[in-house]
Symmetry: C2
Subunit: 578 residues, 2 copies
Amino acid sequence: MSAMGRLRMALAQVDATVGDLVENGKVIVDRARQAVQAGAQLVVFPEMVLTGYPIEDLALRRSFATAARDEIDVLAGRLAESGCGAALIAVGYLDHDDEGPRNAAALIHDGRVIERYAKHHLPNYGVFDEFRYFVPGSRLPIVRFGGVDIGVLICEDIWREEGPTAELAAAGVDLAIVLNGSPYERAKDDTRGALVARRARELGAPLAYVNLVGAQDELVFDGDSMVVDAQGELLARSPQFVEDLLLLDLDLPQRAEETTGPDAAQIVRTTISADPLPVPEQPLAPPTVPPPLSEEAEVWSALVTGLRDYVAKNNFKTVLLGLSGGIDSAVVAALCVDAVGADRVHGVSMPSVYSSEHSRSDAADLAVRTGLHYQVQPIVDMVRVFVDQLGLTGLAEENVQARCRAVTLMGLSNQYGHLVLATGNKTELAVGYSTIYGDAVGGFAPIKDVPKTFVWRLAEWRNEEAQRRGETLPIPPNSITKPPSAELRPDQMDSDSLPDYPMLDAVLDAYVEGDQGYADLVAAGFDAELVERVVRMVDGAEYKRRQYPPGTKITLRAFGRDRRLPITSRWRERKPQG
Amino acid sequence: MSAMGRLRMALAQVDATVGDLVENGKVIVDRARQAVQAGAQLVVFPEMVLTGYPIEDLALRRSFATAARDEIDVLAGRLAESGCGAALIAVGYLDHDDEGPRNAAALIHDGRVIERYAKHHLPNYGVFDEFRYFVPGSRLPIVRFGGVDIGVLICEDIWREEGPTAELAAAGVDLAIVLNGSPYERAKDDTRGALVARRARELGAPLAYVNLVGAQDELVFDGDSMVVDAQGELLARSPQFVEDLLLLDLDLPQRAEETTGPDAAQIVRTTISADPLPVPEQPLAPPTVPPPLSEEAEVWSALVTGLRDYVAKNNFKTVLLGLSGGIDSAVVAALCVDAVGADRVHGVSMPSVYSSEHSRSDAADLAVRTGLHYQVQPIVDMVRVFVDQLGLTGLAEENVQARCRAVTLMGLSNQYGHLVLATGNKTELAVGYSTIYGDAVGGFAPIKDVPKTFVWRLAEWRNEEAQRRGETLPIPPNSITKPPSAELRPDQMDSDSLPDYPMLDAVLDAYVEGDQGYADLVAAGFDAELVERVVRMVDGAEYKRRQYPPGTKITLRAFGRDRRLPITSRWRERKPQG
């Protein structure tokens, strides 16, 4: 080994918008310039930052693929014009060659793309379908920049045990950069940090991990970019859920000579510059590691990020939701106010003949506490016409109330351009305690993946947070403490139809998230009758909901399994025999 | 080569139900017994017949995978008990081993599974996502049965040029059987027949191709099972869209000795019986090849099959649809009557203040012609309450009418248990000429993938067919000839908002199905202004519809691309510069 040199690197944790090549290009140039002005010599952007991620079948649209391939060359020119030509800049983008589309990283220097890396390992489970969209790469470039040998990888490449880390380690690199589009999942327990540390130790070199931030449809990217050293020790980390430019000086060995040792077949070596880089003049502030967020704070931030980006990226100015006085709509309203500001939030109380006095007063109280726009539109007259003319009774009568509220919200949406939000929670949707084309209507459902018991936890946490800050509590305490009711018939209570929520959520978590079967659940100590009741409700609701899609499919997947099941299916979970 | 022997084979073209292991098992035993009673020695069932296909994430559910794996052994025993033990029976099923789930074929003989083959090539494009669900196989079994060497393949295996046909050809087989779950696509021009013939020539052996029939969610399987000889000549073929048991005698070489030549590594040889099989006593009727269907007849059959199976497999007894007097609802009503019979079809005319006299009389005429159940439910009073109370105007007022019809249909559905059908066509949905949560509501949308101009062709064809048979024309001639209108405001005509339908459908076909870009379309001779207008409508409608899912996602994919696009996207097709 030769002498050590200093490399100043920047990890650009940015929010990209799917399909917006021009705007994403501007974000990249702005951030690169900011980094270079701070002395950065290496700037790393996340996976697919130029196109946004995931782009799904846009990858297969010829006109888009061509535009994306052209844009990376345009971007290389712009970076040089903006004074970033001397730096090495890694940018994720959509490449395309004779074999098909590639999830790729371009290494840009001096106005052109010096090298391209196509992701080797394509995830195809859960929310990922990359085998549908991309062809895997096989080349493994190592570029020498300022005498430092740098390897580049993309996301899933480091999650596979059989991934290319071993080849890079055998070839020998001084630094690995990993571009990521890694969605937030609840309660990951820092799996990501542990993995990054392990791969760095395997490489025997520092590893820089750069992730997207912001939301795209049902995914939230939490950022959490980081750099670890060759021993796996964390050197610096970006905060979650906000854009960030993480700057760090690394002291790395300088390679004076060409590497001659035999390489694995995939390794492709390129030299940009063999001489040491000038040591940056400006000093850097010492690197920081933000304290981890509490579970409630993390989930709240994810929900706010998801909602804010969905509204902004779909060009909505305002949101509209029904306020029932209950806990779910109160929490969604508080999320809205945090995401887009009270002045862009419109709430409607829509009482029926079965609505209680507190449902109206709690909704009005919420409006006063949060400062959102508030109106009352009784649905009594609309419901009466349908019920009388069609002779509806029982469940059909209950559902008409929820549907008249949906027609009211959509009417106001069409008239004024608001995005309608659905306020249902995961528990009631799982067991079918919801009306298709009724309360399930909307463009986005912020808490559709949050179990009821966690909705309460979020409400309490958000109010405590307000108390800590000396602000008005946004959520009416009565909405938190009163027993939940759908109020679609006289004196109706959730507990008439459902098991107690803590027990219900425990079974749902094991059955749906944990993929436990009937026998597993009973063996785990759940009451057999309760299991049977819940399993029947879930299976029934699941098939009903798939037969009649409720309209809103968009929600945040960070909180649960994304199951794709056939609509038509006779499969039912069965009780163990004997 | 040694002497020739006769093998009687049966191709069981059956309709399986996803998830119903018990019922599918019964179908298999019944058909196998029928085949064996007719002297069959080899009975071949389609891909995944025991589980139904496609099963999507059910493949990943442990309790289901275990049940499916167990059921194949149970089935082997049942087949023997039913007198089918002496035959060789190939059954598609879900296998599962340490590496994960497999799309597999079991070769059953004498009460047990003799050999298993796991599909080598997993399709992962269009409607297929098999990389998500299955692990590919690598073994390639050849079983000797009655002195005949038989190779087994599954569906995609023969569609790939690099598929295992070459290995089987090199090893030498006397017969190949291919189990398929191959969905119907419009205008395939017998690609399937040509491919099967080519593979048989490559193998130098007859090839038996067995396909599922019936519908599963958005897929229709058309059957079309066939046998070709070693020269690729068609020997026999099953009709499309109906269950069938195709029986055929093949004269095949008898192999007296063990094969000793060196095999490719994947080849696994098993001998069930080396001696010639007894020649079946009963003579067979000569094999038949049904004449091809006309394009309209084929599409009509596909639509009827899709609707009938969706209703039956989801346990609905009756269907309900709105009758506007227009062509779309008339064609859907005629499809319903053909699919489930007039007595199970309920139509509702729902006139508003803007409805014309002919909209009511044509709807009533349709009811008389088809014999479906008919009622009139004016929406005037419901609409008035919403419009007056909320102060709705313009598009918001138009949409409320469509939504009051949806609430009416869903109310009747909840009260009486009907499946609501949406009657929109592909053209109006593509350009956004439709109301979300309004006319788009329903559990199934029979003509959602049929362009408007083809809806007219179907109507004319169905009436001509009735004329040929001497039956009442089901579709009112006035519904076919009158100019189309949504009737949501005074004197509204489709032509106020849309280009002429033939031109519109031509652009849509090139833009959406043909994946042509802006420049391609203009270069192809379409008027530039028309292209710009249509492209803007499609992109606008596409994003709007994805932001607010309309509720009904289920339709038949045989008629168009199944694009999965991001909801949040700023990508817009751009006019070529300069």
